[in-house]
């Protein structure tokens, strides 16, 4: 059996992701194929997904997928060329190197030292690896799914959901600068339970790098309870309501706002929710940095070393994520920017890349307390199909899903039909009455820790037929 086939078998059967030593070895092999001098830059990545999907209480998909990739960049006499492959045998790697060299010869030649390397960075230590996640086998996922489905099935409800454990590695071993290797895991579980007659629906979900942090039975119970409680909703008039937003609903709005926390939109394009206005005297655009943008009880930031907010500690350009407070007690204190922009506008050697992960400050009120203090309002489980209508005010639209209840005189009185809404997270965060304890929410792309909150005058514009 050839060495190539041996490699394939090892990858498929015994190894789901490339270890650091293997990434280094691949990098060295790629470099050994380079001809004609110049520089060779190699990035090696791999990923694995173990997933299980079910619908109508029956598993509809279960599988394991994995892949890897090598990105080769050759720089010959100042001209760069790049090629990618996901085959790790020598023939394929050498073919990729030759392709990168051909591309380099067609490219524009820059002075050899024009693209000077960035200075060495310090990278944070982050909690992103969990053996519990990585070790969950396909049979174990099946068992877990059974435990998630059973409560709904016993109650003669229909459940659908998705359970995924995954892992990924990224590596970059440049000639100069620090060697980068990160291995990360992610577990996510989300499920919907519906009444077979289509009159009620409940949802619950959570994601974390660590499967042990996801209490699957609790999610199953929660989704079922919400479904049962949301059956036979009644229609109430659209309009402005006091709302109690559960943490997932808050994240569905605020998560988009966090991704909009960038310098370039306001400063370069005079646009976005954080553009303050034109400074004609200095001939530049002012952002809202330094201005109060939300309620003073709100702080939003990201600490990569926060165990609940772990992310791969560097971005696509190898730039480190740093501890940052975007909003401090209501005041906008930092906006993200890539290093290039930071260098050009402030001569700062390091920008603030925005991973989208965040922790939002909260309060001490429980959801029950919020309900008790509400004369008339709505309890919202989550939002769906949320889209931005106006990027400058961050006005969004979407609709409520999977559990919406009317609160009257301090008590939940009935399930109500879903609403379309038109609202901005900036308006909501300026209309806060109470805040609860921040908790992790379902956010597989970037972890988030968000509190529930009670806010005034949330705008529901029309009834929605969605359940």
């Amino acid at each position: 059996m050839s060495a190539h086939m041996d490699r394939l078998i090892r990858l498929t059967d015994s190894q789901r992701m490339l270890l650091r030593e293997e990434c280094e070895r691949i990098t060295q092999r790629v470099r050994s194929f380079a001809r004609g001098g110049g520089d060779t830059d190699v990035k090696v990545a791999s990923w694995w997904h173990g997933e299980l999907r079910w619908a109508r209480n029956r598993v509809s998909l279960a599988g394991d997928r994995r892949n890897g990739g090598v990105s080769v960049r050759r720089v010959l006499r100042g001209a760069g060329g790049e090629a990618n492959t996901n085959q790790l045998d020598d023939v394929s790697l050498e073919a990729a190197v030759r392709a990168a060299e051909r591309a380099a010869r067609l490219n524009i030649t820059y002075p050899q030292d024009f693209q000077l390397p960035a200075p060495p960075f310090e990278y944070p230590r982050t909690a992103i690896w969990s053996d519990a996640t990585y070790d969950q086998t396909a049979p174990a996922r099946g068992e877990a799914a059974r435990a998630l489905i059973d409560p709904a099935e016993s109650a003669r409800m229909l459940s659908a959901g998705y359970l995924q454990v995954s892992g990924a590695t990224v590596s970059h071993f440049p000639d100069t600068g620090p060697a980068l290797y990160a291995a990360t895991t992610m577990a996510q579980c989300s499920m919907t339970v519906r009444d077979p007659r289509g009159t009620g629906s409940g949802w619950a979900g959570l994601s974390s790098y660590d499967l042990a942090r996801i209490d699957a039975p609790a999610l199953a119970r929660r989704a079922l309870e919400k479904c049962l409680a949301s059956r036979n909703p009644v229609a109430v008039e659209p309009g402005r309501y006091t709302v109690i937003l559960e943490p997932q609903a808050v994240h569905d709005l605020v998560g988009t706002m966090v991704t909009a926390l960038g310098r370039q939109a306001p400063e370069l394009n005079a646009a976005g929710p954080f553009f303050a206005g034109r400074d004609d005297a200095l001939d530049l655009n002012r952002s809202k940095l330094g201005l109060k943008v939300v309620d003073e009880r709100i702080s939003i930031g990201h600490d990569p070393s926060d165990p609940a907010l772990g992310i791969v500690p560097f971005d696509l350009s190898d730039e480190p994520y740093r501890k940052v407070t975007w909003i401090d007690r209501g005041v906008l204190t930092e906006l993200s920017d890539p290093r290039g922009y930071a260098l050009h506008t402030r001569n700062d050697n390091l920008g603030y890349p925005n991973s989208g992960a965040y922790r939002m400050s909260g309060g001490t009120a429980s959801i029950d307390e919020m309900i008790r203090s509400t004369k008339r309002g709505l309890l919202v489980t989550r939002f769906s199909n949320v889209g931005v209508l106006d990027e400058n005010s961050l006005l969004m639209s979407g609709f409520t899903r999977d559990g919406l209840w009317l609160i009257e005189n301090g008590q939940i009185t009935k399930a109500v039909k879903n609403f379309h809404f038109t609202e901005s997270p900036l308006f909501v965060l300026n209309s806060i009455e109470q805040l609860g304890e921040p908790v992790p929410v379902f956010s597989p792309s970037a972890p988030a820790v968000v509190p529930p909150l009670k806010a005034r005058d949330f705008s529901f514009t029309s009834l929605a037929d969605a359940i």
Partner: protein, 475 residues
């Protein structure tokens, strides 16, 4: 930068046989198979791919971009024409759907089927109701654009199709029947300016003068309210250019006899175009060029070359160069090629590049001014081989309060001296030609855009030639 994305996006294929890997990175064939294409858009796309295939193998930025009249009439590459011809053969101008007028016209022109292009234009115009004058103007503009515009974009980097000036000019007659009141300023001036620019670039001076006259008539009809709009401002500047083009020979003759007469003519044109007189006069022609200051000087003969220390005695070209153009995405390279060609053509011309520090260079950690200045020298003089002396001013600046912290640069002395009011700020790429007595003769933007003076390089070359050949006794 997005290589991680690329890696993660690699499709499933990890287990493909080894033999596939050996052919996976072969270049695809660049012969267009047009048999399956059925629409004009598909044929145009195929033609563009043929052109891109040619360009990718050719020299990318060699100084072969001659700004000569021949360039505008050079034939398109044969594979491109052949692709358009074969693919377009299925479309007959007399019967093809008139709704496809725009892509068909372009396809016919690429294939050299000018009569068919005219037919499809005629059919499209015939389909417009007599009262739909705006629609008529729009179609005429599209047709005119097709006749004078280089296909697929950048005229600086590719061969141009031969522009069809006669066909384009014939459309202007019909276009003039659309009342001014139906169209905005931009819509009125743009097609005429595009034709004027194309005629000028093609070296068709008689036609350029004719179209310039038409443009001036158009400008004269602007109302006072229209003149105050953004496009009114632009039209005034273009009017000035048109005036200059209309009597360019007279201008050049006057310069041969002395600077004073030439300056008077240019100032007269400026006054006619803008209405500016007296202290509000913003045209720098005729004004004394200030001595260039620099904290760091690089290049042959510095700091005494050109007007570095003294503006007397040499014909000089002062060019402001800027950091934006060390970013390869900013295409200043045609301007650099212009500069190199001028230097090669006129060795006696004293060229001074004027730059400032910004506190950064490429990905380099914030460098001290001397290191940044040296990097700029490396970029412009070693890599781009720009001629002349390079003066770099160490820029003074302040910072906005935290948390903004942005750096705000103060104007350098050079920028202040060469601002001449709002219209001619010391922008990147601005070139000023100065005579032996230190008087500004012309200002323009090398590698200029659609609304700059067309063919600045050739225009400057004519002026430089006169200034260098003028006896020293003439002033």
């Amino acid at each position: 930068m997005h290589r991680w994305i690329g890696l993660c996006a690699i499709g499933v294929g990890l287990f493909a046989p080894v033999t596939q890997a050996q052919t996976r990175f072969e270049w695809p064939a660049d012969t267009a198979d047009v048999t399956r294409y059925t629409t004009a858009e598909e044929c145009l796309a195929a033609s563009e791919r043929a052109k891109q295939a040619l360009e990718s193998w050719g020299p990318v930025w060699a100084d072969t971009l001659q700004l000569t009249p021949e360039r505008a009439t050079a034939p398109l590459p044969a594979p491109l024409v052949e692709t358009a011809r074969r693919c377009g053969a299925r479309f007959a101008a007399a019967t093809a759907p008139v709704i496809d007028f725009a892509p068909l016209m372009e396809l016919f022109l690429l294939a050299g089927r000018d009569a068919d292009a005219a037919t499809i234009v005629r059919r499209r115009l015939a389909a417009i109701p007599a009262t739909a004058l705006r629609e008529r103007a729009a179609v005429l503009d599209s047709a005119l654009n097709g006749y004078v515009t280089v296909p697929f974009g950048n005229p600086g980097l590719t061969n141009a199709q031969p522009v069809r000036l006669e066909a384009a000019e014939s459309l202007l007659v019909d276009r003039a029947r659309v009342p001014d009141t139906l169209l905005g300023v931009q819509d009125r001036i743009r097609p005429v300016w595009m034709l004027l620019r194309a005629a000028r670039r093609a070296g068709d001076t008689a036609r350029a003068e004719r179209v310039a006259k038409r443009f001036l008539e158009l400008g004269a009809r602007l109302s006072s309210a229209e003149r105050r709009t953004e496009w009114g401002e632009i039209s005034r500047l273009l009017t000035y250019f048109a005036l200059s083009m209309q009597h360019e020979r007279a201008l050049l003759d006057s310069l041969r006899h002395g600077t004073a007469g030439y300056v008077a003519l240019r100032r007269g044109d400026w006054s006619k175009a803008t209405g500016e007189r007296g202290v509000a006069f913003r045209m720098p022609v005729g004004q004394p060029a200030a001595t260039i200051e620099g904290d760091f000087w690089f290049g042959a003969g510095t700091p005494d070359s050109g007007i570095a220390r003294s503006s007397k005695g040499k014909v000089a070209l002062v060019v402001f160069v800027e950091h934006g153009c060390i970013d390869p995405s900013m295409n200043c390279w045609p301007a650099y090629a212009s500069l190199r060609r001028l230097a090669a053509r006129f060795p006696a011309l004293a060229i001074t590049l004027v730059a400032r520090t910004r506190g950064y260079f490429s990905a380099m950690a914030p460098p001290p001014p001397e290191q940044e200045a040296n990097a700029l020298r490396q970029w412009w003089q070693e890599f781009h081989h720009l001629p002349g002396a390079l003066a770099v001013t160490s820029t003074t600046f302040f910072r906005l309060d935290a948390p903004d912290r942005r750096r705000v640069d103060r104007p350098t002395a050079n920028e202040t001296h060469y601002s001449f009011g709002r219209t001619f700020g010391a922008d990147p790429g601005m070139a000023l030609l100065v005579d032996r007595n230190g008087i500004v003769i012309e200002v323009g933007r090398l590698g200029g855009g659609a609304y700059d003076f067309p063919d600045v390089e050739e225009h400057l070359a004519q002026l430089i030639d006169i200034l260098l050949s003028r006896p020293a006794s003439v002033s």
